[in-house]
Amino acid sequence: MKEITYLEAIKEALDEEMARDPSVFILGEDVGVYGGAFRVTEGLIEKYGEWRVLDTPLAESGFTGAAIGAALMGMRPVVEMQFADFISCAFDQLVNVAAKNHYRWGAATPIVVRAPFGGNIHGGPFHSQCIEGFFSNVPGLKIVAPSTAYDAKGLLKAAIRDNDPVIYCEHKYLYRRVKDSVPEEDYVVPIGKARVALEGKDVSIITYGAMVHTALEAAQTLGGNGISCEIIDLRTLLPLDKKAIFNTVKKTSKVVVLHEQTKTGGIGAEVSAIISENCFGYLDGPIIRVAAPDTPVPYSAQMEEVFIPQTKDVIDAVEKLMRY
């Protein structure tokens, strides 16, 4: 085992997959000589050349469409959106071409779209968005969102080897802030499987991405107050790991769903709905959602702090639920 950062984990996954399989290549804005806006692809063009690490024109729809066409011809492209926010420009290619190819005419489209998402970096409305909700209503896509270096590496490898279009939501706040152990040898984290980030018995906090760490902080404080939290890190947002969700509900009977995405129509709404449809009898309180308010992501630090769910918000929600 070795300790690496979340960012290094992504880079290692790309590097190892490119070395393993000549059909894997990277395309996007400034990914080559510059190494990407966040330096995730730094050094790869020197190693694999300009035809496997392609700097593209500023045209998200065009290069996403091109990735789809290359995938239809047997390649395994990894598209980098410089910021997840820009994925909106490629919405049509992802939703109408990539997501529907296999269902409509049986054509597998193995593309990965890396989407550096989330706030807490003072990026303002166009460099901080959570985009998973735009796509979670699109059958045919898969969406993953790792919270640890281990999962960042294992899920990216799984996404590259998967035969379907995968949107890989990498939280840019975690790039250099999270560090954990990964094996020296090759491994994958299967798509579609959540993990128990913390075992507990009184209340379940179901979350993903950077909020897993917020939940862990909250759980520590709550533990000191005698409340035992179980934290479920969803890891895959489409399709959801229903079994893992139902298991924790059956265990604790109390649920807080936590995410940085805005509240209305978010992943939390879907998680709440499937729990209520399938596990109603196990609940002994309402499902509480802790999420960003329904506004764009504000720039100023004072407002961004209110916008992004904080540890205190999670503690308040859990305590409210425990009193129920």
Binding site: W51, F63, G65, A66, G69, M73, G74, Q93, Y103, K142
Partner: protein
């Protein structure tokens, strides 16, 4: 360019096959047997027959919906297409899709989304794969005049030009995008003028003359195959009927329609074959008889084929399904 006699007959065969197939589909639509719509390439068959027949086996086409000639020339059979129109299990997509939303990777054909010009970047991606792997294959893609107003058209052309990719772009300029005439679609005189902005050489050809389209395509394919980069080919033609079978096209001036009727691509080809080439009428009649027989068989096959089960709607979402324990 010298085109062999057999190749000329092949072009004529696909012109007739596309025409007859779409005529039959139109008739089935009016009998209420096709529940969705029917959008045809009637009067524009030379465009896709020309570019489709000029391809080599290993090449790839990313067509749009008025490219019946290309679908057929690539080898998608009339039977499968007719069954597709009727929503049958034996159709190209087994009932998942309708009309000409068809693709078959084994035959090098990409299905197209209704969002016009979406297949432009996708076609470019196929060309990119060939370039990365150093293969001597090319990709082609096509859209209508309306589609050239979309961003994907421009993003694809630019990307292909910057990377000098082996792709040839086609435009079926049929003067109308549904009811919108060309003058409200663009302020340039030729669609081909748009290629200038990307540094892509272009050519405007008579889209009703299959030999002209085929010749221009062959030349551009040779350039692309030999690392010379993309070409844009505008095929000027006319949509001599409605946007689809439910559209009477009242908004098109009658004189314009009449002027184009004399330029019908099949009549044009027949005049050429009988004149310059010196083919006998019996030879052409033989092609027609073969085509009619094929279409009759295709219709029978489609009519007798089973419908899919309603529950087939749950199948095929993912290529790598997620296993639920």
């Amino acid at each position: 360019m010298d085109i062999r006699r057999e190749e000329l007959l092949r072009l004529y065969y696909y012109l007739k096959l596309a025409r007859k197939l779409e005529e039959r589909a139109t008739s089935l639509y009016h009998q209420g047997k096709i529940l969705g719509g029917v959008w045809t390439s009637y009067g524009m068959e030379a465009v896709s027959v020309g570019y489709g027949c000029a391809l080599e086996r290993d090449d790839v086409a990313a067509p749009y919906f008025r490219d019946m000639g290309a679908f057929l020339a690539r080898g998608i059979s009339a039977k499968r297409i007719m069954a597709q129109y009727l929503g049958k299990k034996t159709g190209v997509t087994g009932g998942k899709e309708g009309s000409t939303h068809i693709g078959d990777l084994n035959l090098g054909v990409f299905s197209f989304p209704s969002h016009l010009a979406d297949n432009y970047p996708v076609g470019v991606g196929a060309a990119l794969a060939f370039k990365i792997r150093g293969e001597k294959r090319i990709a082609v893609t096509c859209t209508g005049d309306g589609g050239t107003s979309r961003g994907d058209f421009h993003e694809a052309m630019n990307l292909a030009a910057v990377r000098k990719l082996p792709i040839v772009f086609f435009c079926n300029n049929n003067q109308y995008a549904y009811s919108t005439p060309l003058r409200l679609q663009m302020a340039v005189n030729n669609v081909a003028d748009r290629a200038l902005a990307y540094g892509i050489p272009s050519k405007t050809v008579d889209g009703n003359n299959v030999v002209e389209v085929y010749t221009a395509a062959k030349e551009a394919y040779t350039v692309a195959r030999n690392s010379g980069g993309p070409t844009f080919i505008e095929c000027k033609t006319m949509r001599v009927h409605g946007h689809s079978e439910h559209d009477s096209a009242k908004y098109v001036p009658r004189e314009l329609l009449d002027a184009w009727k004399t330029k019908d691509p099949i009549l044009t080809m027949e005049r050429y074959l009988a004149g310059s080439v010196g083919m006998k009428q019996e030879e052409l009649d033989g092609v027609t008889a073969q085509v009619v027989k094929e279409i009759d068989e295709a219709e029978k096959f489609a009519e007798e084929s089973p419908y899919p089960d309603g529950t087939d709607c749950f199948t095929g979402l993912y290529a790598t399904p997620i296993e639920e324990e």
